[in-house]
């Protein structure tokens, strides 16, 4: 165990823990967007920044990836931290004004109207869907493509991916509801990935379920129909 100071409190943390883990273990809440306990931390949303007090002055670090070190002094709710989070949330609100989770965060932090408009896309590129598809499902059907402001989540080449198994993990893990799922009768489609699947009836219970091996047949069928 190591000892560090968070918000003036001496706390203990496991060796190798991140600052976020150390804080949450001690009931100190830090907001996050791109963090998920089941996934490798990403350090992208910068909402979890905390102030690390050092000999040369304070710096902001992303608590989800920064290791908790013996003797460290951390502030999770200082003016420096709050100012940074407000800026981050204002930028997110400017880019995803209709995302409920962003609206809630903005309201909580007192951010009203963003001073710029950066579009209207619910996807905030937190990468949770991509990491979940890779690390949990193992399908690796989608990835982050392009860079900068035009970065987006896509299946390879932007066309329906053979690797997608229609498990919908991405749909459930998305914090903003940007990935839309439609189960209509015996058909399932994940809009963002252009993936369509047909359910099969179970021979025993009669319920419909999705057979992975069906996917390819179904796609071939679709192609034939178009011809």
């Amino acid at each position: 165990m190591i000892t560090l100071t968070i918000d003036g409190r001496q706390v203990e943390a496991l060796e190798g823990a991140t600052l976020l883990e150390a804080a949450r273990e001690n009931d100190i809440e830090i907001p996050t967007l791109c963090f998920h306990e089941a996934l490798e931390p990403y350090g992208g949303c910068r909402l979890c920044v905390v102030e690390l007090v050092g000999p040369k002055g304070s710096q902001l670090v992303a608590s989800c990836v920064h290791p908790a070190e013996e003797g460290a002094e951390v502030r999770t709710n200082s003016e420096m931290v709050r100012r940074s989070r407000r800026t981050t949330v204002e930028l997110l609100l400017a880019a995803a004004p209709n995302a409920k989770v962003i609206q809630d965060l903005a309201a909580e932090m007192g951010v009203e109207q963003p001073r710029v408009r950066l579009g209207d896309n619910d996807c905030i590129l937190c990468g949770l869907c991509v990491r979940a598809c890779d690390e949990i499902v193992g399908a690796n059907a989608i990835s982050l493509v392009n860079r900068g402001f035009v970065k987006e989540v896509k299946p390879p080449f932007g066309i329906g991916s053979n690797a997608c198994i229609g498990c919908t993990t991405c749909v459930f893990i998305c914090p903003t509801g940007a990935i839309k799922l439609a189960d209509v009768l015996t058909n399932r489609s994940v809009h963002e990935w252009k993936s369509d699947f047909e359910f099969r009836p179970c021979k025993i219970c009669g319920d419909h379920y999705l057979a992975p091996e069906l996917r390819q047949d179904y796609e071939e069928l679709l192609v034939e129909e178009q011809v």
């Binding site: 350090g43 992208g44 909402l47 902001l60 992303a62 930028l91 710029v116 950066l118 860079r147």
Partner: protein, 617 residues
């Protein structure tokens, strides 16, 4: 090529090379760096070879195709050795004359000499050219002498003797101590002490370690590293081999951008030659030390110059930075301790080992040692590569070496460190350049790109340009960099279009500070610098754009208007013919007028007018 197995064999080889060469034999050194090649230096070298061949002089004159001499403004550059006669803007047609007149009869050809714009004097010898006189060339010293594709040239000029010394007489710890004593700091821009970096990596636990040369030079206008690799790739390799031995690495990578075809080619040749000679491979010079170096070409993402993104790219993953710690010295490439240095840093290492850390540390200022290469571009008379000791002033670089501003215009500022740096206005040109002084001025040393801005440069537009660059090159992983740079760019764009609002400057300052504080990697942490520093020194220009919708430098197109002064216009018709959109009308010998609806504000009319009748406001 014969393998060299011991340090004695290396010295023997060097002696054979040196004694086999007559120092008095005429040698034509033709600059074949990328800049001079663009000006046609390959045709010049062909002409030399043909002419020498056909006149039967091939035993009497050597022709060397060298790397960049630095004076790119005057390319193709030809230096005749050993006399040092300096010819500039040489054309293939000049070659027969150079041979018959200068080389055979000793007569200097006046038209090919360099004229100093300051004094108006023509200058015969290279060492008298003011551009070279005030420089201190340590890293670039051999660029004008050696053929970079011939390892024998490098060895004959003393190459690999530092390696010989390092493997024969120095322990890894001693090498690190020597580099530490020299005071060498990273030339990539951040200025981390190199000796300390090596020490951390040597101490890190693990049997497998790596060394990497960061050759992903990407700042607009910067080409120092390219010219080192093009002109003297063996010096970079020698530095890496010494570093790898000090750290305990047996595998090295050079991550080089593929847009540098000549540098990639010369480096590839150099690696193959070093392997053939036994400077790379197993049991280097009988020391028992093994090292292999591979080239990894980058595909043009600016962010891959950031060390963690660079390593991800070498690992065949997407070139995105990851948070530090862990630092590469502890967990780098494939999770192993890794030491990354920039090209210029590596190239300094053989010099330090050869001449000693104490000698090296005498050059420079208290905390910044050695020399620094700058690529001086923009509104400057002598565009080129300049190597000066740390502590030189900007006014020395811009006026004494750079020859001042073209057209007798005034200098406004220089932008250092590219999109991560900031501008230094002319009133601070006498501050000695070192890592700390530049930081205090709101700029950075950076990798050495220096863009000179004359009085006609709009600093808001300059800031907007750099912001559009980083905004496009941001990897997009973290919110402040991805969205923050876009927000800053949008605000800057509306200011340059005349739609700036009250509070825009304050918003830029606030957002800039936040992006610096909270971004994940060095790209975002420095991206706002050009904006913050131009606001710091040229706030009045921002205010003029926002409050008076006027661009004081007459650059921002939506804010300017061209018109013709009826008093001055003679109706010569030059502007009318030059206008690409037929916006100018008027009878001969009558004053012309510009149709503002059609005018695209390209400025062609103003450029061609001989009577200064075209006004811009």
């Amino acid at each position: 090529m014969k393998k060299i197995r011991t340090t004695e064999e290396l010295e023997g080889f060097r002696e054979t090379l040196v004694t086999g060469r007559d120092p008095e034999k005429p040698r034509v050194s033709v600059c074949c760096g990328t800049g001079c090649r663009v000006y046609g230096s390959m045709k010049v070298i062909e002409a030399f070879e043909e002419e020498i061949d056909s006149s039967g002089l091939d035993k009497k004159i050597d022709v060397v195709s060298t790397g960049c001499h630095g004076f790119c403004e005057k390319g193709p550059v030809v230096v005749l050795k050993p006399s040092g006669i300096f010819y500039q803007r040489v054309d293939a047609a000049d070659v027969p004359g150079i041979i018959s007149e200068t080389m055979l009869k000793g007569r200097v050809i006046e038209e090919l000499l360099y004229t100093d714009p300051g004094s108006g004097k023509t200058i015969v010898y290279e060492h008298d050219v003011p551009f070279y006189q005030k420089q201190r060339r340590l890293v670039l010293d051999l660029n004008g002498d050696i053929d970079p594709t011939n390892i024998e040239d490098y060895v004959a000029f003393g190459g690999y003797s530092a390696l010989s010394k390092a493997v024969e007489r120095m322990s890894p710890e001693e090498i690190i101590e020597e580099v530490g004593n020299s005071g060498l700091r990273g030339r990539g821009g951040a200025g981390f002490p190199t000796g300390l970096k090596w020490k951390l990596c040597r101490k890190a636990e693990g049997d497998t370690k790596y060394v990497i040369c960061n050759a992903d030079e990407g700042d607009p206008g910067a080409y120092m590293d390219r010219s080192i690799m093009e002109g003297n790739p063996h010096r970079v390799l020698e530095g890496m081999i010494i570093g790898a031995r000090a750290i305990g690495a047996h595998q090295g990578y050079v991550y080089i951008r593929n847009e540098y075809p000549l540098a990639v080619e010369n480096l590839r040749i150099a690696i193959a030659q070093a392997e053939a000679c036994g400077f790379l491979g197993n049991n280097i010079l009988g020391s028992g030390f093994d090292l292999s170096i591979q080239i990894r070409p980058g595909s043009g993402a600016f962010v891959c110059g950031e060390e963690t993104a660079l390593m991800a790219s070498i690992e065949d993953r997407v070139g995105e930075p990851r948070p530090r710690p862990p630092y590469p010295a502890v967990s780098g490439l494939w999770g192993k301790p890794t030491n990354i240095n920039n090209v210029e840093t590596w190239a300094n290492v053989p010099i330090i080992i050869e001449r000693g850390g104490d000698w090296y540390s005498q050059i420079g200022t208290a905390d910044s040692k050695g020399t620094k290469i700058f690529s001086v571009v923009g509104n400057i008379n002598n565009t080129g590569l300049v190597e000066v000791p740390m502590g030189a002033t900007l006014s020395e670089i811009v006026y004494d070496i750079g020859g001042g501003i073209p057209g007798g215009k005034a200098c406004k500022a220089v932008q250092l460190g590219g999109p991560s740096g900031g501008c230094v206005p002319v009133e601070h040109f006498d501050v000695p350049i070192d890592y700390e002084s530049l930081q205090e001025l709101g700029s950075i040393m950076g990798s050495g790109g220096m863009v000179v801005c004359d009085e006609d440069t709009c600093m808001v537009e300059l800031a907007r340009f750099f912001m559009s660059f980083v905004q496009e090159e941001s990897c997009g992983k973290c919110v402040p960099c991805r969205l923050g740079t876009k927000a800053m760019l949008d605000v800057l764009t509306r200011i340059t279009e005349g739609n700036g609002q009250d509070g825009d400057i304050e918003y830029l300052l606030e957002l800039g500070e936040q992006i610096k504080e909270s971004s994940l990697c060095g790209l975002g942490q420095t991206a706002p610098n050009p904006v913050l520093s131009t606001i710091r020194y040229f706030r009045d220009e921002y205010e003029a754009h926002i409050q008076d919708t006027c661009c004081p430098a007459h650059v921002c197109k939506p804010l300017i208007q061209y018109s013709i002064d009826v008093e001055a216009c003679t109706g010569c018709g030059r502007c009318l013919r030059a206008c690409p959109v037929e916006a100018i009308s008027g009878e001969k010998k009558e004053p012309h007028i510009i149709d503002q609806e059609k005018c695209i504000k390209c400025g062609s009319c103003r450029e061609v007018c001989k009577f200064d009748a075209v006004m811009v406001e």
